[in-house]
């Protein structure tokens, strides 16, 4: 455990202050080196690293950057996605809190590689406390001249270097899960309701105000300075070769030490749960795990042996990496109650543009409530599956899949639970067991970053 590289959240107290960050090499040699490279060479280095997006889809980052058109006929924008609103995901928050300058340095490098004019950091409104931290960090960076018009002097290039500057604006959301979807985020930033847009055109062709735009996740960008510092080849050797680097795994639910753990990709799911997050309270068996945030297909406890946490291996295991938000449920958990809560969330958050999603998410919830209340019929099991199946692929954005996957895969993988529920006289479990077990007061959230910084 001690040997795991800490690339995003190193154990450095006070790293969120710019002085400390600069003492540890931030805004220094790496950035100066970048500004002597050609933008294409920077993108190539990121391609070489194999970095894949950390927001959910795990799309190759360098490739995404290369979609941006060259030339300057229109302004270009970078939209930094810090909206994380998926239940089970709370990783970006740690970057805002403990290492915001690495994210800002990543924004500078990405912006240079794509010749961005302005970068917007969009953060969910509920994170007001953390928005202030990021605003403070951005203000410090402006004061030091490492961001904004003064960059041209701060990083004055020698020889063949290229003078470059970019502005950064922090934008506060106002509470809408759908805004985490990239085109919905663009709508929201433009001052509209956060409705997703039909693709194509893709944002690189027509994004914010019809200009070329790239949208990257907070954690993705926080990896970029590390890649440019150690080199793409060296970075590609960390973790799983097909999905290299470290990931911030947010572990929640029935574990002894919930929290965020930075570990190499390819770490096994059971190691994360048992070794890092302290195992399941009371030594109970695991009934179900959702490995990447609430929209991902859940896995049965018996399916977990040998499952590795990276995009390719998790896909092979029948799920997806998503945001790396691992939700653990013990043997006493009422699966139907959990699934009903998930469906309530997606029914609440559907923006309502597409009929299959608007109507389908409501129907999923209604049918699940019948199961929860003991009023379901046997044919409701297949009906539930059919409704979920008929949402998938029929919507503008991926919220349709996000709502359908947990339902469809839970019905497929836990069919006996639904069959038992339509029989009378069933004893229903309780998802609140851990809290009941710990009446004496809960421990603080376990994060590997030293607690000395927390009051």
């Amino acid at each position: 455990m001690a040997d795991s590289p800490k690339l995003i959240l190193p154990d450095v107290p006070g790293l969120r202050n710019i002085e400390t960050y600069m003492q540890h090499g931030g805004y220094g040699e790496t950035l100066r080196k970048v500004f002597t490279m050609s933008p294409t060479a920077v993108t190539d280095e990121v391609k070489k690293s194999g970095l894949r997006g950390r927001g959910g889809a795990a799309f190759p980052t360098g490739l995404k950057w290369s979609f941006m058109p060259k030339g300057n006929e229109k302004k270009k924008y970078l939209l930094v996605n810090g909206d994380e609103s998926e239940p089970g995901s709370f990783k970006d928050r740690q970057i805002f809190e403990f290492n915001p300058h690495q994210m800002i340095e990543g924004i500078l490098i990405a912006s240079y590689a794509m010749q961005i004019d302005h970068a917007y950091i969009y953060i969910r409104g509920e994170y007001e406390h953390w928005i202030k931290m990021v605003r403070q960090a951005v203000a410090e960076a402006y004061d030091r001249g490492v961001v904004g018009p003064r960059m041209k002097d701060t990083f004055k290039p020698s020889g063949d270097g290229i003078a470059y500057s970019v502005d950064i604006t922090v934008h506060k959301g106002a509470g809408a899960y759908i805004v985490g979807e990239e085109t919905a985020m663009m709508s929201s930033l433009e001052g509209d309701r956060g409705y997703p847009r039909v693709k194509p055109p893709f944002p690189a062709a027509s994004g914010l105000w019809h200009s070329p735009t790239t949208i990257n996740n907070i954690e993705t960008l926080a990896n970029v300075p590390v890649i440019l510092k150690m080199g793409g080849d060296a970075y590609s050797k960390i973790g799983d070769p097909k999905h290299p680097g470290t990931l911030l795994f947010g572990v929640s639910g029935h574990v002894n030490k919930p929290g965020v753990y930075e570990l190499p990709t390819g770490t096994t799911l059971l190691d994360i749960i048992n070794k890092h997050a302290g195992g399941v309270p009371g030594g109970k068996k695991i009934k179900m795990v959702i490995p990447g945030g609430s929209s991902m297909p859940p896995l049965r406890g018996e399916q977990l042996e040998g499952v590795k946490m990276d995009a390719e291996n998790l896909k092979a295991a029948g799920s997806a990496i998503g945001t790396g938000g691992i939700m653990v449920m013990d043997e006493d958990t009422d699966i139907i109650k959990v699934l009903t809560r998930i469906s309530k969330f997606y029914a609440h958050e559907s923006c309502g543009q597409c009929t299959p999603c608007r109507e389908g998410t409501g129907w999923l919830l209604k049918i699940l409530q019948r199961f929860e209340q003991g009023n379901a019929r046997e044919e409701d099991i297949d009906l539930l599956h059919d409704v979920a199946f008929n949402i998938e692929g029929r919507t503008i954005c991926a919220l349709g899949e996000a709502a359908a996957w947990p339902v469809r895969f839970t019905v497929e993988r836990f069919r006996e639970v639904f069959e038992q529920r339509v029989k009378p006289g069933l004893k229903i479990g309780s998802p609140n067991r851990v809290h009941a077990l710990r009446k004496g007061g809960l421990e603080p959230v376990q994060i590997h970053v030293p607690m000395v910084e927390r009051v």
């Binding site: 609103s85 998926e86 239940p87 089970g88 995901s89 928050r93 302005h118 409104g125 509920e126 994170y127 007001e128 406390h129 202030k132 931290m133 605003r135 403070q136 951005v138 203000a139 410090e140 004061d143 604006t169 934008h171 506060k172 959301g173 106002a174 509470g175 809408a176 899960y177 433009e190 001052g191 509209d192 956060g194 105000w209 947010g250 572990v251 929640s252 639910g253 029935h254 919930p258 929290g259 965020v260 609430s294 939700m327 109650k337 959990v338 809560r341 998930i342 969330f345 609140n432 851990v434 809290h435 009446k439 007061g441 809960l442 603080p444 959230v445 376990q446 910084e453 927390r454 009051v455």
Partner: protein, 179 residues
């Protein structure tokens, strides 16, 4: 038409330069209105529409779309309790019901003295600190029902909410950080 001073209107004009389009500052303008008034009424929507150069109907649509904008007066302390999966697994529903009974109001309700309002919220990004509740911008994580009662009582008594047990401390904020 008198929510903002000339200085504040000038600030919005400066902010609009960062976005290129006045409409894009609608969310920041609405946030500022809610900070000043506690909620966004019809007159405020009209003023926001004028600042952002959009129709008032557009502003109404945006206010309705986002859950954090209030179109009716809420309590001075808006209490939010998460009952989504990660919190539910660790007692979020129990906590919500406890707070609801303590305050004697239902979801989206407000106490008669106007001090508290209540909301059962979707995920707040505190899954590792579940169960959680929030009073305005302050998150209380790993909170038991007993602690929740103490927080509410202390807030009612002192008129300010107590510091949470586990939270990072903000560094001194410069003026720019508050914009």
């Amino acid at each position: 038409m008198a929510i903002f001073s000339n200085e504040e209107l000038q600030e919005f004009t400066e902010l609009q330069k960062r976005y290129g389009k006045p409409a894009a500052t609608l969310l920041p303008v609405l946030w500022r209105i809610q900070e000043k008034r506690g909620w966004i009424d019809s007159d405020a929507m009209e003023e926001a529409a004028a600042i952002c150069q959009v129709p008032k109907s557009h502003v109404e649509g945006v206010v309705q779309f986002y859950t954090m904008f209030f179109d009716k007066p809420m309590g001075r302390f808006h209490v939010q309790v998460c009952t989504n999966v990660s919190c539910m697994l660790r007692g979020g529903e129990e906590l919500y019901n406890h707070v609801r009974q303590q305050l004697g109001i239902e979801n989206h309700g407000r106490t008669e003295n106007g001090i508290f309002s209540l909301e059962e919220v979707e995920c707040m990004g505190a899954c590792g600190g579940a169960p959680m509740m929030a009073l305005n911008d302050t998150f209380y994580e790993c909170v038991t029902t007993e602690e929740a009662s103490k927080v509410l009582a202390e807030t009612q008594r002192a008129g300010v909410n107590p510091k949470p047990k586990f939270v990072a401390q903000l560094p001194e904020l410069s003026e720019a950080a508050n914009r």
